[in-house]
Symmetry: C2
Subunit: 294 residues, 2 copies
């Protein structure tokens, strides 16, 4: 059995506990939180310091993206492998170099950006490049809630609550449907102007709509449609499409848990999912998966 700690207990952490419990080959060593106060909530150890959990093979870092680097380095230094779902695409190469170094120094391994995008979508993009090396891949997100855009909208004067939905209009272009619950006395036209001026929204078609109760709109579903039209050898017009409609934190944490298997199978170093054999994500013996899936 692989012993895993879930570090952080927000949305992703809660779903990660469920995914660990559903895995036949992984056991939950415990949950690590800054405040272990409500430990009576769980049948499992909730601690502030992972060292009180005994031997741990993998730490599943269910912390905010901005805390991933520091947290990962602290675990890797102790020789504990890590899996995270760091999601700032442009900063992944730099994080990979840092965690690669930290992992080798600690004789452990790190899988970074193990979610659905970045993550499983990245694997599809790599595979489609191999299938049709020339061409264009479009990744279309949604319909679903964008965390970053929602936080940006919520921060505006006059906004009590917000939800920014990402709506795909094809070829990687997105519409932003922003639902706002206004503070008493706030003016929708002014709020709309503030939101549309924000760099998060200024380049996209954005609609701002006032609603009386933002909580009534909340839904953790999300979707992707990725398309590639390209060339295999000299043959044009090869068409590929990958679609999914999923619960967002459930898929993110499931991918992290599947990567907990992969991370203990790698040599020390830092890896993204496109650098790992897909069979390593699966429990049990390679040969049975070759027989079942190939």
């Amino acid at each position: 059995m692989i012993r895993a700690a879930v570090v952080g207990y927000g949305n992703i952490g809660r779903f990660a506990v469920e995914a660990v419990n559903a895995a036949p080959d992984i056991e939950l060593a415990g949950i690590v939180r800054r405040k272990a106060g409500d430990k009576e909530m769980f049948d499992l150890p909730v601690v502030e310091d992972a060292s009180s959990l005994g031997k741990i093979d993998v730490a599943l870092l269910c912390v905010p993206t901005r805390n991933v680097e520091e947290t990962a380095i602290s675990y890797l230094a102790k020789g504990i492998s890590t899996v995270d779902s760091f999601d700032v695409h442009s900063e992944i190469p730099a994080l990979r170099r840092k965690l690669d170094g930290a992992a080798k120094a600690g004789n452990a391994a790190a899988v970074l950006s193990a979610g659905w995008d970045p993550g499983s979508d990245s694997v599809i993009r790599a595979l489609l490049e191999a299938c049709a090396p020339k061409g264009i891949t479009y990744t279309n997100f949604g319909p679903g809630m964008s965390m970053g855009h929602t936080v940006a909208a919520k921060g505006k004067d006059g906004v009590a609550g917000a939800l920014s939905m990402t709506i795909p209009t094809g070829t990687g272009v997105h519409r932003r449907m922003v639902y706002v619950q206004l503070k008493p006395g706030a003016n929708l036209e002014e709020v709309t102007a503030l939101i549309k001026a924000d760099p998060y929204f200024s380049n996209d078609e954005t609609h701002v709509i006032a609603v009386p109760d933002i909580d009534a709109l909340m839904d953790m579903g999300h979707g992707v449609s990725m398309t590639r039209k390209g060339v295999s050898g000299k043959t044009d017009n090869q068409m590929f499409e990958f679609r999914m409609q999923i619960n967002n934190p459930a898929l993110t944490s499931q991918v992290m848990v599947s990567c907990a298997r992969a991370v203990v199978r790698q040599k020390p170093g830092g890896y993204t999912m496109i650098e790992l054999p897909p069979v390593d994500f699966l429990p049990g013996e390679r040969e049975s998966w070759v027989a079942k899936l190939v």
Copy 2:
């Protein structure tokens, strides 16, 4: 540059030459055929024995599936890595064990069953298992020509030419639309009975249709729709779909050529595509693909 020989020059071999020529990092050492007679067709060496091509890193085995094992073993014994598109699903585990042994003995590597199914579809199936470990994956083929069924239909008494189209009706169930060009005096009812009694067709809904000229129907396009509905952690109803509409031999040979990169990057042994990091299918440095795709 990776030096590759194309072994066999049927449909797949012709497309493999195009894919090698389109690859920035692979050069064509030459073509190996049983009869090198028509060498004036090409600007490239066409030989009967690969040893006259100088140093070769990879042999792309574009030979019939039934000749793959013997051909692969002969190249691996010489220390030349191989890529094939062996496509009898049930026999892949046994072939993998044999080529694994032969590759290790020859200090080379073999990637087997590198086409689209088995092949790139297998990678998708593995990834979807990691995303939703519980659930059902359906692989729906077509519309497109089935080689095996076409050969079976063509072999019947009274049939001058045949084309068996695979039509997906969902949930992995397929209809067979069999077009036959009858020999003079042959009877459609009798031919239909022979075809429907064949184990290739007896379990599927099969329609047999007489046409005056079978060549007028030939088209190398094919398609796949794979769906998985499953459970991530404890969350049901996660929905995934992968679709493609492709030229069949062009994609098969492109996947083989992409695997020529992967095979030279592995330790000695035999591998299916689910056992290889997807980034290894792509030319150039890992880090640039991490930045572009992850």
